[in-house]
Amino acid sequence: MKTLRWSIPLAVFAILVVFLAIGLTRDPREVPSPLIGKPAPAFRLAQLDQPDKLLGPADLRGQVWLLNVWASWCVSCRVEHPLLLDLAKAGIVPVVGLDYKDKPDDGRAWLAQHGDPYRVSVQDVDGRAGIDWGVYGVPETFVIDKNGTIRFKHIGPVTAEALQQTILPLVRELQRS
C-alpha cells in the first residue's frame, strides 16, 4: 500500500513523459494524407511549355512517377530545386511538375532561370487540382505507382536524406513490382 502511494503517480508521470517526448519529435505541419493508397485524383491540365497539349495522371499509367507541386512564388521550392535537377540528370524516375496557382509566364520564366527538372509541367492556375490532391503547403511531392495509386507524399522541400532513404528506395521497389 505504501509503495502504491508513490508508484502510481510516478507511473502516470512516466506515461505522460513518454507521450510528450514522442510529440516533440513530430512535426505538426505534416498532416498525414488520406490519399495514400488511393488512386491519384484525375486532372487534365495544359502543359506549361505547350499550352495546347493536355496531360493528366491517366497518361502516365504503367510507370512509376513523381508529382512535384511547385510555383514561381514558392520560396522553399528553391531549396529542393537542385536535388530535383540532380534527380532529372540521373534519370531514375520521371518527375511531373504541377505549377500551382501560378501565372504560366512566371512559371516558365522561373524554370528558365533555375533549370527545368520536369519531364512535363502542367498549369494548375486556379489551384483546383491542388485541392483534389490535398495540397496545402507547396512544395509537395507524391510518389505514384504503375497502377496510378499514390504511395507516398512528402510535404515541404525534399531533402537529400528523404530522397535517398525514403523516396528512391520506394521508387526502385515499385519499379521492380
Partner: protein
C-alpha cells in the same frame, strides 16, 4: 425648437435606415457555421472561416460552390475529409484511432474514482479500527464519573 425637430427627424430616419438593411443571407450563415468547425491547414490554429490564407479562400469558394449546387454539409465535410483527412475537423470523428481521444477522459475519471474510493475506504477502515468499542466506552465513562 426647429433644430430639435430636425434632429429628431434625422434620428428617426437613421433608425429606419438601419432597419431597412437586408437580413443576413441564410446561405452565408450556414457556410459560416460550417467553416467555423473546419480547420485551415495552412495556419493550423485558425478555422477556415477566420483564415486569410490563399488556400482557405479557395476552399471557402469551393464550399460555397458545392452548397449552391445543393450539396449538404455532410457532403462538403466528406469532400474535405477525402482530401485533407481528419485533421480538417475541429470535432474529430469517432473512429478506432480517435477512441482514446474521446474515451480517454472518461476512462481516467473512472480510474481516478476507483482509486479515490479505495483510498477513502482504507482510511475509513483505519479510523474504524481506532474507534473505541461500546464496552471500552462504558468502562471509560465509569472511570470518569
Amino acid at each position: 425648437m426647429n433644430v430639435l425637430l430636425r434632429m429628431l427627424a434625422c434620428t428617426l430616419m437613421a433608425a429606419s435606415l438601419a432597419h431597412a438593411q437586408p437580413a443576413p443571407d441564410p446561405l452565408d450563415a450556414r457556410l459560416k457555421r460550417l467553416e467555423t468547425d473546419l480547420r485551415c491547414l495552412v495556419c493550423q490554429n485558425q478555422t477556415l472561416a477566420d483564415s486569410d490564407a490563399p488556400l482557405a479562400v479557395d476552399l471557402r469558394n469551393e464550399i460555397r460552390e458545392m452548397a449552391v449546387k445543393g450539396h449538404s454539409d455532410d457532403d462538403i465535410r466528406a469532400f474535405l475529409l477525402a482530401r485533407y483527412g481528419d485533421f480538417v475537423l475541429y470535432k474529430p470523428r469517432f473512429t478506432p484511432i480517435t477512441w482514446l481521444l474521446w474515451l480517454g477522459p472518461f476512462a481516467l475519471l473512472i480510474v481516478g474514482g476507483v482509486i479515490g474510493w479505495a483510498v477513502l475506504r482504507a482510511r475509513a477502515r483505519a479510523a474504524g479500527a481506532e474507534a473505541p468499542t461500546p464496552a471500552a466506552e462504558r468502562t471509560a465513562r465509569e472511570l470518569l464519573s
